[in-house]
């Protein structure tokens, strides 16, 4: 399209927000353009003579902007490049800055010439839901041929590349009153609440408070509304108890007045981002009371080819002129069913934009503003409707508007006239913006007079005021705003401003305008512009039985576009109502889910990304480990050393060395990640009795006991050693991965079932460093360190514990062993961890001490046939299955899982049981998970498998059907490329009597 002079001259009085002394240069589709500070991208592009800004989703029809803000369905653009590109921004919302790069979307090769338009020419073949009816033959073609073509044609903008360089953050706040929306009603509400000393937050989606006051004509206290809102905004901003936020959209209202505010800090000014400001901030607000003053949005009336660039909402046309000094075209026609459009007419006229006439569907409307428009010399035409447009340049240019007498319910135009014009400003009435009202269960009801859904009831402490509440006059908006603020605030009352109430002529609902030729015979009446859903599509859905609105929406994709039905839901329902002869509320209701407008995933993730995503937990010795080895393994949220290769050692060699060193000398393991939970209170013993399968009540102070924990279904979920510190005080050890889960599990039982037990549960995993010193020389190392604890076998036998100090460090010392060797686990407050570790290494030098990692730990325990919950168990394994019937109490009256353990299937013979495996070829190491197959059936699987340097052969554990009765049998494990044969053996491969740990 050729550049037309759409920018209005400075002396027209138009363009209030522009700073014409600050030109900004930017590109749109590679073309250099200039705008002014204060422009939106949409206004600047229009000012440069371009009205086509996008292409529609399905038919690729050329489209221009139709709204003035975040609900824009057509003018979607990509802004930025590379990893900073953001697709699908509403050009009507994008604040222009110098150097902006922007592109149009969903077109190829260019916006003006898009081959996708072929879809428009074929559109008769593609009604709604056509894809359910075809593309089925031949069978594989859907996935292989049709779908890829459809996928490539679909989608809107192009995603960014790589990692987002910007930062995001979240803030949690409380306030007494949150006011959503900074128009006159919201400002009044905030003032009234603030005057009562409440902590108030008021936020608005746009860059400034005031709502549409600046494009409204009524006066407040004899002043222009613009002056009034400016004063209010200034005084609120200055108040200590009020937090004013702009560029801040409330995107959701959740349970218990929990709201999310999406604030955009740098999108309008990249210099701020470059200086390190976060791009977006998500405010999580818990508000005492919520006052919704979110305003209303204008809706369209549908006529043939109502999607042509140049057709826009009346409020959008007015905004373009008043705020941005841009004429929507050279000669406009105004199409109305209510008085508001006349404000647009007057505004355009005042700024020198040509107005062909006002076409009003109402028969004989009378009001002051209508007279004012006529007095200003604007031609009015009542009882008529726009029936279509004549276009050129492939639909990109409107040349004339067709007008016909309007008779409600008559589908076909009999006689029409044509009036030259190049744009149409449409006002079909206003819909309350009640989205947030619905997010947490608020109800809406249909209002016949306003022809819209308006708020009805809500169970939360939330009020809705002003046009969001369907109150469409200024005096009413102010009144409701103040009243809600006072109700939320207290006794103090502000002096209320004076407003002259002017009568308006009522709106006449009108959804759909007749056309020459029947609308469903070739003419396109668009309801959902972005998704190209037409009135004929809605009718087709009805005809085919997709009658529920929800079916209609899904079948036609009505309301599924990026505006989420803001522009199309109510008109769509109006049209279905007309087509089916029902009243709108009979067709259905409409409801809304979060988010109010799409918002960035970046804001949802906030700072939880990269290094701060699942922050790595570190033991006190973490830095030492990483200085020794780079082979760290994630274990739950922790990173633990897997092994410590030395010199040029391979990992396997390191593991073997570490194991043999434990067996022959002494090793040290950082076991700090083991879950540690203190259990305290008079009922602690009883509590443990119920949580574990084995008996704990009788345990003596200073002793340790290994415990098994089952879930209610009788399956193993955790294990570990619990020590008794005092009569009413135990220390439970859990698996590293289970620490958090088990702490929560204990709490759940205490809080929901056994609230009568006097027990506290305190996770202390991070408070203690704990090291296992294991090997024949372990005692010597401790003796060398010096301790006030008697370390002899007699004084501190296997499974005993003591408190005291070692080398001057306060410690808890446990004689427990997961390696089968003489072993002490020493725990000291985490702050001493590194020091103690260093001291132990130093003292152990002469005894050959060396650290060992998680893999050595695993092999050591496997050699001993100890299970690891999560390896040997998988949520289907009972204590009996793993040969631990000895740990299942027969005496205790009850404990978690006891009853389940008696269920038939859990006691039947032939269950899978834990066995050891010795491969026929001792050098062959079975892979983890390898399947045991007998007569074609899966009868077991390998749960752990290692090379044992101690035994110089492979060892494995497996769960095998009836395994414990099949010692000595051979079974085979077929892999993809070979079969491995192994003999079923006892899972304890080393030191069966347990002599080594008992010295």
């Amino acid at each position: 399209m050729t550049g037309k002079p759409y920018r209005l001259p400075d002396d027209s009085g138009a363009g209030r927000l522009l700073d014409r002394s600050k030109p900004l240069s930017f590109t749109f589709d590679g073309k250099k353009m200039t705008g002014y500070a204060g422009d939106t991208l949409a206004s600047a592009v229009m000012a440069n003579g371009r009205r086509v800004m996008g292409r529609s989703f399905k038919y690729h029809r050329p489209r221009g902007l139709i709204t003035m803000g975040s609900e824009e369905p057509n003018a979607l653009v990509g802004v930025g490049t590379g990893s900073r590109r953001e697709p699908n921004l509403r050009a009507t919302q994008v604040e222009l800055f110098d150097g902006m790069t922007s592109v149009s979307q969903n077109r190829w090769p260019s916006l003006d010439f898009d081959v996708g338009i072929i879809n428009n020419h074929m559109s008769r073949l593609f009604p709604s839901g056509f894809y359910y009816k075809t593309f089925m033959w031949p069978k594989t073609f859907w996935h292989k041929v049709y779908e890829p073509v459809i996928r490539n044609a679909a989608g809107l903008g192009v995603a960014p590349d790589g990692v987002d360089p910007d930062s995001y953050e979240q803030v949690h706040v409380h306030c007494d009153v949150l006011v959503v929306g900074g128009g006159v009603a919201g400002l009044a509400a905030a003032q009234a609440a603030a005057a009562n000393g409440k902590r108030v937050m008021i936020c608005d989606e746009t860059p400034r408070l005031g709502g549409i006051a600046d494009i409204s004509n009524e006066l407040i206290d004899g002043k222009s509304q613009l002056d009034w809102v400016r004063e209010q905004a200034a005084s609120l901003t200055a108040a200590d108890n009020v937090h004013v936020m702009t560029r801040a959209t409330v995107i959701g209202h959740y349970h218990h007045n929990y709201l999310m505010i999406f604030e955009r800090l740098t999108d309008h000014n990249p210099a701020l981002a470059a200086a390190g400001a976060p791009r977006h901030r998500l405010w999580k607000v818990r508000a005492g009371k919520v006052i919704l003053a979110s305003g209303a949005s204008e809706r369209t009336m549908t006529f043939a080819n109502n999607d042509r660039p140049g057709v826009m909402l009346s409020s959008a046309a007015r905004t373009l002129v008043e705020r941005y000094g841009v004429a929507p075209g050279l000669m406009g026609l105004i199409f109305a069913n209510n008085d508001d459009a006349y404000i647009t007419a007057l505004s355009l006229k005042r700024s020198g934009v040509g107005i062909a006439r006002i076409v009003d569907v109402r028969e004989n409307p009378q009001s002051e503003i209508i007279t004012a428009a006529q007095d200003a010399g604007i031609e009015t035409m009542f009882g008529h409707a726009v029936a279509g447009v004549e276009t050129s340049a492939g639909g990109k240019q409107i040349d004339a508007v067709k007008i016909a007498p309007y008779v409600k319910g008559r589908g076909r135009v009999v006689n029409e006239i044509t009036v030259p014009a190049d744009f149409i400003a449409v006002s079909g009435g206003w819909n309350p913006v009640a989205h947030l009202w619905c997010h947490n269960g608020g109800k809406l009801q249909w209002d016949d007079t306003l022809a819209c859904f308006k708020p009805k009831s809500h169970d939360d402490d939330i009020a809705i005021v002003g046009s969001a509440n369907g109150t469409m006059d200024l005096a009413g908006c102010l009144k409701e705003g103040y009243a809600a603020g006072e109700k939320a605030g207290g006794k103090a009352r502000l002096k209320k401003p004076r407003v002259v109430v002017r009568k308006q002529a009522p709106v006449e609902p009108m959804w759909f305008s007749p056309a020459t030729g029947k609308y469903n015979e070739g003419n396109k009446h668009f309801i959902d512009l972005q998704n190209d859903v037409t009135a004929a599509d809605l009718e087709l859905a009805q005809r085919e039985g997709y009658e529920s609105v929800e079916h209609t929406k899904r079948y036609t994709t009505l309301g599924m576009a990026t505006d989420q039905g803001k522009n199309s839901n109510v008109p769509g329902m109006g049209i279905i109502a007309e087509a089916t002869g029902k009243a709108v509320p009979e067709v259905g209701t409409t409801t809304f889910r979060p988010p109010y407008t799409p918002f960035s995933f970046g804001a949802i993730a906030g700072t939880q990304r990269g290094k701060l995503f699942h922050v790595i937990r570190r033991t006190a010795v973490y830095d030492w480990h990483t200085s020794q080895t780079s082979v760290m393994e994630p274990v739950g949220d922790w990173r633990r050393p897997y092994c410590y290769p030395q010199g040029g050692e391979s990992q396997q060699d390191a593991i073997n060395r570490e194991i043999l060193n434990v067996r022959n000398n002494v090793g040290i393991l950082d076991a700090s990640t083991l879950g540690k939970i203190e259990i305290k209170g008079p009922d602690a013993g009883e509590f443990l009795n119920r949580m574990y399968t084995n008996m704990f009540a009788g345990l003596k102070t200073g002793k340790c006991r290994y415990g098994l924990m089952m879930n209610e279904m009788g399956f193993l979920m955790d294990d570990g050693v619990t020590a008794k510190l005092a009569d009413d005080h135990y220390l439970m050890h859990t698996t590293s991965g289970g620490a958090d889960r088990i702490a929560a599990w204990l709490e759940e039982w205490l809080q929901t079932e056994w609230y009568d037990l006097k027990v506290y549960v305190t996770p202390v995993t991070e408070q203690w460093s704990q090291f296992a010193i294991a090997g024949p020389n372990a005692r010597k190392v401790l003796e060398k360190l010096g301790s006030d604890i008697d370390l002899s076998h007699e004084a501190l036998p296997f499974m005993a514990m003591a408190t005291g100090d070692i080398a001057g460090f306060p410690v808890r010392l446990f004689r427990i062993s997961f390696s089968g060797e003489l072993s002490f686990e020493v725990a000291t407050p985490a702050n001493y961890g590194q020091d103690l570790w260093d001291k132990i290494l130093e003292a152990g030098k002469e005894f050959g001490i060396a650290p060992y990692g998680t893999e050595a730990l695993h092999v050591l325990r496997a050699e001993k046939g100890f299970i690891v919950v999560g390896d040997e168990t998988d949520g289907t394994v009972t204590p009996h299955d793993v040969g631990m019937s000895w740990a299942v109490s027969k005496k205790k009256p009850d404990y978690i899982g006891k009853r389940s353990l008696e269920q038939a299937f859990l006691t039947e013979p032939g269950r899978k049981q834990l066995v050891g495996l010795a491969t026929t070829d001792p050098n062959e190491v079975l892979p983890d998970g390898a399947p045991a197959v007998e007569s074609g059936k899966l009868t077991g699987h390998v749960t752990s498998s290692y090379w044992s340097p101690t035994l110089k052969r492979s060892i494995a554990m497996a769960l095998v059907k009836n395994g414990s009765e099949r010692m000595g049998e051979k079974i085979s494990f077929p892999l993809a490329d070979k079969v491995i044969e192994a003999e079923i053996v006892d899972p304890v491969f080393y030191d069966k009597e347990g002599a080594r740990q008992n010295v």
Binding site: F57, P127, Y132, H255, H551, T562, Q903, A904
Partner: protein
């Protein structure tokens, strides 16, 4: 009326005015041979196969809202069959095979798209778990494979494959024949098919009571009147417990909200379905270009179909970490469905102690993929009043016997 490119072309000439209704809106009759409660995918499939395989056409499906509007119309449509336990493999594999032919069988395109499905391995433990599943699936004859990081990167160019990622990609378990289908298409295809065989689908008809005469079911009370019938099948997902309670049967089910969300449409960036169980999130891209994202369920019981923001945040955070480009995309829509969770996270397809009362539920977060298989075996169970062999392990008896079918090792997020 047959659908094809030719009928479309023919109808186009007449501005599509000649299309017939996809299904009727019949009046409720006073009695039926069987009544199915719940017109979700499972209920509709059950009706379809009862009519098709067992000639039972005097049956009704009653639905409190609009057909397909429950979880069937709210799910993220992941289809796979690479489960660990034999019983699961049997039913999901049956479903998978039926899915492949459903469009042609229905003459309605359900857009089954075996685009490939990856389950990432991001810890050693997860890797070992999937290796075990891979072996089990190989023995069961499923075509799946473990793939390495390089292959993952080729299939999913937008994945964060950095060595220093919090959970580096160690590989993935890949089912090339896994994928997605159009959820509405599945519900509508079954509805149209069942309707054509004479099944009455009654929408806007809420069941308010179940009538028993001793231990025999005799009828159903609804908001549109009472129905006499000797066979009632309850297929109501998150509402299973309270409906079964109407007949005095307690169910081992908890109802929680599971949420999902989509981004705004973008040009294609990911062709396969990726599940990242360690971080709790999964993603695919719809044919419209939206990224379809899901994660874990809310931790508390709920019937409100509104989930917590915390769960969404957990999921979104996982996805931003795993697919960094998502950070600059916008979340367009979110929703929740009430899912029916059993203790072992496996479904219930069962007879009950009440004669003539059957139940199919407990599909939890993963029952879209099973719709055809579940409907097929459940229809057989109802028609013959004995469990179909594939359904048998999923009977209520397992909760008495302790014969659970636990899939928790095979997937953290059970889709």
């Amino acid at each position: 009326m047959r659908y094809s490119i030719f009928s479309l072309a023919r109808q186009a000439l007449n501005y599509h005015k000649g299309w017939e209704k996809a299904w009727r809106s019949p009046e409720l009759k006073p009695s039926y041979d069987a009544v199915i409660i719940g017109a979700g995918g499972h209920g509709l499939a059950t009706a379809y196969y009862m009519a098709k395989e067992h000639g039972m056409t005097n049956i009704a499906v009653v639905e409190k809202g609009w057909l397909g509007g429950g979880n069937t119309g709210r799910n993220t449509t992941i289809i796979r069959s690479n489960y660990l336990q034999d019983a699961s493999i049997a039913i999901y594999d049956l479903a998978h095979k039926l899915y492949a032919d459903l469009s042609q069988e229905f003459n309605y395109n359900i857009m089954f798209s075996p685009r490939g499905l990856l389950m990432l391995c991001q810890t050693e433990h997860e890797l070992r778990g999937f290796q075990r599943t891979a072996h089990a699936n190989r023995i069961a004859g499923l075509e799946c494979e473990m793939i390495d990081r390089q292959r993952v990167k080729e299939l999913v160019p937008i994945i964060n494959d950095r060595d220093d990622a919090r959970y580096p990609i160690l590989g993935a378990y890949y089912q090339a024949s896994g994928g997605t289908a159009r959820h509405d298409g599945v519900a509508w295809g079954y509805a149209r098919g069942a309707d054509q065989m004479g099944v009455d689908i009654i929408q806007n008809c809420e069941v308010t009571g179940l009538l028993r005469d001793g231990d025999q079911i005799v009828g159903v009370e609804t908001t549109r009147g009472t129905i006499n019938t000797k066979k009632v099948a309850v297929v109501t997902a998150g509402h299973t417990s309270h409906i079964m309670q109407m007949a005095g049967v307690s169910m081992p089910i908890e109802s929680v909200c599971l949420q999902a969300m989509v981004s705004e449409p973008i040009k294609p960036v990911i062709d396969v379905v990726v599940m990242a169980n360690t971080v709790h999130g999964y993603v695919s891209q719809s044919d419209k270009g939206e990224l379809v994202i899901g994660g874990g369920a809310d931790a508390y019981n709920n019937y409100a179909q509104r989930g917590s923001f915390a769960s969404l945040e957990h999921t979104a955070t996982a996805l931003v970490e795993t697919f960094p480009i998502i950070s600059r995309l916008k979340m367009m829509r979110q929703w929740g469905g009430i899912v029916d969770m059993t203790g072992d996270r496996s479904p219930i397809i069962s007879m009950t102690d009440v004669k003539g009362l059957y139940v199919n539920g407990g599909w939890g977060t993963g029952g879209f993929k099973s719709i055809p298989g579940s409907g097929f075996v459940f229809a057989d169970t109802i028609a013959n009043d004995r469990p179909h062999p594939i359904a048998e392990p999923f009977g209520l008896k397992r909760f008495v016997r302790g014969e659970f079918i636990d899939e928790s090792v095979a997937s953290g997020v059970a889709h």
